[in-house]
């Protein structure tokens, strides 16, 4: 009885899929296509595909489904601690470092505010990366989720932009010399106007950009939160509620971490000293190592290509088969392994650029070949199946 019910549901969904696939072509050129996708924008992981819901235990919701909710809790914490930090931070060249020191050492709960703000951003970046991999691994970019990869990459870029502008606000010796953009600007200014230093205007602008970012995110979230709910049959709204365990884990974890590790402060920025060598933050390590190995231009090109590939996945992968696919799995795992190799190199495992290149190529070839072989076997098996098995999925 139970099985029968499930079968009919799947058949109905397949029929729905078929209809949507046919009408999709008509909708591509009109605004309806984009409107529907924006309505489906699953920023907070409120929806999971019905097929996934059926397949798993506890209603199909595992902890990896809650990444979006954890991101929201983390973002709210970062925003509120940022408002707290505003009360103590002074965006003046001469006083900014001292004010951050005061926040850390003498302001009540200043250590908590600063720790949550810094480690919360790092946690947000980790969660955004997990989310990108989850979407690709699960192939959630299939219709109607074409924009999901775009949204996840947007989250990551916004978080990194916040982190980079945030580091500069401390105005320590570590940060003042680090970022190429500002160095470029100083050089540009010296060529044009003979000004050889970063001025108060720069700090004010960075400070304003950091706050504008917060407003920008809130405007987008408000817009998405006030949209009517999706009515696609393939997806199901499971809950708006955030489990209490997420609050406990995020708030407790961040408090514990900021109690044990104070965010790095460094020393006051001094224009007379040469800036410290570039210290890449952990999320910049792969990009930094790529720049080291392949040169800046090629590595930038490669990063852009990787991002474009991820965004174009719904156009590339159009197979109607559900569930994880071996080649996609191989791509996901080889990307993770490549990042690990880069991190090892950053930690001091000293291999030459050529060696790194061959190692990465080997990882990719082995994993993609294994995936392709497995996929071929899978395809053969699918082709040999009877119609009844196909309906069962």
């Amino acid at each position: 009885m139970h099985d029968e019910h499930e079968n009919t549901e799947t058949a109905q969904e397949d029929a729905g899929n078929e209809v949507s696939r046919n009408s999709r072509a008509d909708n591509y050129l009109t605004g309806d296509w984009i409107r529907e996708r924006i309505l489906l924008c699953d920023l907070f992981d409120n929806m999971i595909p019905a097929e996934h819901r059926r397949s798993g235990i506890t209603g199909g919701i595992t902890s990896i489904d809650l990444v979006g909710k954890a991101m929201w809790v983390t973002f709210v914490l970062v925003l509120l601690s940022g408002i707290g930090l505003l009360a103590g931070y002074s965006p003046v060249l001469s006083g900014s470092f001292t004010s951050v020191e005061n926040i850390q050492n003498s302001m009540p709960f200043g250590w908590w505010l600063r720790g949550v703000h810094k480690w919360g951003t790092d946690l947000f970046i980790i969660l955004a990366i997990i989310r990108i991999f989850r979407i690709i691994w699960r192939r959630a970019y299939r219709p109607p989720g074409e924009l999901s990869v775009l949204v996840a990459i947007g989250c990551l870029i916004v978080a990194i932009a916040g982190a980079l502008t945030g580091y500069l606000l401390v105005w320590s010796q570590n940060t003042s010399g680090v970022y190429g953009g500002l160095g470029l600007r100083a050089g540009y200014m010296s060529t044009l106007f003979g000004v050889n230093e970063i001025s108060q205007v720069d700090l004010s602008n960075i400070f304003a950009l950091h706050i504008i970012l917060g407003f920008l995110i809130m405007v987008i979230v408000l817009r998405i939160r006030t949209m009517p709910r999706s009515r696609w049959p393939q997806w199901r709204d499971f809950s708006n509620a955030i489990p209490a365990s997420i609050y406990w884990l995020v708030i407790g974890g961040l408090t514990l971490v900021s109690l044990v590790f104070a965010p790095p402060l460094g020393s006051v920025s001094d224009g007379l000293l040469s800036p410290h060598p570039i210290l890449a933050d952990w999320f910049m390590i792969p990009a930094n190592q790529m720049a080291d190995i392949f040169g800046t231009k090629i590595s930038m090109l490669m990063l852009v290509l990787v991002l474009l590939f991820a965004m174009a996945l719904p156009l590339i992968d159009r197979t109607p088969v559900r569930g994880p696919r071996p080649v996609i799995n191989a791509i996901v795992f080889s990307t993770i392994l490549t990042c690990l190799v880069f991190t090892l190199r950053e930690l001091g495992l000293n291999f030459t650029p050529a060696g790194a290149f061959w190692i990465i190529l080997l990882i990719w070839v082995v994993l993609v070949a294994a995936g392709a072989m497995k996929e071929t076997r899978e395809n053969l098996r699918i082709n040999n199946r009877t119609d009844e098995e196909v309906v069962e999925g």
Binding site: I83, L86, G88, S90, P91, S204, I212, F215, V221, R225
Partner: protein, 418 residues
Amino acid sequence: MKKITRKTTGSGSYLKFRKSAGRMIEMLQHLAAQFFGESSNPFTYTGAFVLWLVALNVVTGLIMLLSYNPTPDLAIESVRNITNEFYLGKLLRAVHRTSADLLVLALLIHMICMWAKGKYTGARSRIWVAGLVALPLIGIIGWSGYILPWDERAMVLLAWGRDLVYGPDAWPIVGWFSPGSFLALPVFAVTNEADQLLRIFALHVGGALVMFFFAMWHLRNVTPPKIKLPIAMWAGFGLLVIFMAAMLPLETGIESLVAFNPYGDPVSVRVDGILTFPLLFYPVLGGSTLSAIILLVWIGLALVPKLEKVTVTTAVVIESNCVGCRHCLDDCPYGAIRMLPHPDDVKSSRGREISSVIDSNCTACGICVGSCAFDAIELPTLTSDDIVVRIESSLEGTQEKIQETVTRDMYSPFEGIL
């Protein structure tokens, strides 16, 4: 299934007063429809006007943030810089100020309209309370905005604000938050000028950020929220705001800059603008009386939904959304839907008919709400979650859960905030 009929209870004279106010608003709305047309009637967009003014405020504020410097030495210099050196800087500041004043006006109009139409009962009490929480927050943002230039008027308003908070020192709990204590309010628990300005700045910018959460809380419970103005309306209204900002003189206080003492006695200064209108009564009433009155008015407004209690009503068709697709007619198990010809004499094949609810047959089971793809039918006193529970249990044939949603006290505004 248990029969549920529309039932409104409340004290008679209050209800009479509220309903006569509602009729007056309806008359005004009808008059406005003659001028603006039914589709762009400003009375149906009172909330959207508020949001549009918030957007104007946020955008102009963020542009000014690029140059503003929250330090006592540089604040007034940077404000002068924005006014005189920025391209269109004077207009920018004026739009920020004028739209903030208009925001308070639009908010009051919105509140009166919603009150008169009775849109604060049942599940909507959450919306009412969320709006009320945002109201003092907007007052605080406006007050702190006046202080940011750090001129003479800023000093006076700062001192008045301190007095408003710490004036009723003799009260039991307020004394705990006085500057010396452990629980001192972070905004005022400072000893030097620089920190004071930073805290006020954090209040202004942080308050604006926090307001988004209240907006979310407020709008999440509205179905369907009318948050976008028609393009002609927002363009026209925006031009009106810019025109007003260009016409009205902008008092900066820069010229009258004198030496000041932030912790000294307040002196008399002209409070212009609507934003700080409660402070107009400050010289007459004094800090403690004024804050007591503000507090009492706020508590009274928050308890307004308690005056009128509406139990679960029958389904209601939102005529502007109905396309006449007959889904609710097909799905209703009680025969409570009938199709009527559309009152507007629609020519297209879609929407010739409009559905209507036969109140005596409706049991408020929620099935038609689930079947409608256009948000055109709703149970106004229930939340979406309640409707899902009702649909599921009426499909299963169980009555207990439905009873839960009926008997639960609807005045639970803090439920489901995040």
